[in-house]
């Protein structure tokens, strides 16, 4: 009986595969980034059902994002097929492990600073400065150096 039910299942699977020959291309396949050239990535899926890929595009879900990974840390990503087409292999969803640089807003016009970044203030930028107890006398005039000590975890850079 087990044999006949197995044959029946094989037949059913074959019918399903014939009816939906492209269904495998609608799945997401996790794997490892092997190497990087510019914003193109060589990728090895975990599944032996898929080949290794070269020069895959990365879709970040946001414009103006560039990514740099450290392949020695086996950074992980997910492979998908754009439009469900075997000709549309691409990557998305990087994990943070092995992600060495994430650049946001590559074409944006306003920069952003982070907590701990140094700040240099040019005296010419100062429009009003009040010296408590009057200005000091003697010695060279130096621009004040400081750093950002607090900030928002959300930035708008466009």
């Amino acid at each position: 009986m087990a044999d006949s039910s197995g044959r029946l299942q094989d037949a059913e699977n074959a019918i399903i595969l014939q009816a939906l020959p492209g269904v495998d291309f609608l799945a997401l396949y996790p794997g490892v980034i092997i190497s990087q050239s510019g914003q193109l990535f060589d990728f090895q899926p975990d599944s032996p059902k898929l080949p290794g890929f070269k020069n895959l595009k990365f879709y970040s879900g946001s414009p103006g994002v560039k990514i740099t990974v450290d392949p020695s840390q086996s950074p992980r990503a997910v492979l998908f097929f754009e439009g469900g087409s075997p000709a549309g292999a691409a990557l998305a969803f990087f994990s943070f492990a092995g992600l060495s640089l994430l650049q946001l807003g590559v074409n944006a016009t306003q920069g952003a600073a982070r907590v701990g970044d140094p700040v240099s203030i040019a005296l010419s930028d100062l429009t009003q400065f009040v010296w408590p107890g009057g200005p000091p006398t003697g010695g060279p005039v130096v621009a004040p150096q400081t750093k950002i000590s607090a900030g928002s975890t959300q930035i708008q850079i466009a």
Binding site: Q18, P21, P48, L50, K54, F81, A87, G88
Partner: protein
Amino acid sequence: MAYLEVNGIPCVRGRLILPLSGVWVADVVAEAENDVGVFPTPGASCTVTFGTQSFQGTVRRSSNPFGTVFARLVGGAGGLPMDLEAKAYQNTTVENVLNDLLGDCGEVLADSSDQSVLTQPLASWARLASPAWQSLAVLMAWVNPGGNWRVLPNGQVWVGNETYPPTTMESAELLGYFPHLLEAEIFSDTPSIQPGQSYLGGQISLVTHFAEPGTIKSQIQFNDQQLSNVEDGNG
């Protein structure tokens, strides 16, 4: 000479199924051996003759109870059920991917295949680990939707688009026409009719030849359209 033979060995009965898209299949019953020779074993190539027609195929499987062979034969080298390994391509053509796929399973691309399909460029392509026929079906579904692929009588794999030329079958007697089934039955001594041809004004999607002791017939399935010649009484 029997009407249906395998490598010259006469068959007691059998049927030969020729689909518009896919692999032709022959199911036969024959003596295990006679003075012509021994029936070929699974995996062996063979020549099936049905009337004046000849088909190059391979024995897919067989059983041999009581000195009688029951066998299923398939068109070509029998490699399309073979599991192929995954492979990725870049900057290539459909012809290269197709030749690679067929070569990996021992099949051969037909020279008569549609060049407009073969020369299509492919910036990238992914072949998953799967049976060869499935990879072939996926490739054709994407690069030539609406087209077909099939194993020809000469055993080669054809890909392309149908033109439905009139059949070159010399003579045939119409045994019956079943409009609700879009099906006709004919008798012909020279049944060269093929899927992808037209007959009685209809486009043929499937041909099944039957050989029984003392009789033969061919069943023809048409695409979903009116058969003008039959329904006008000119069949």
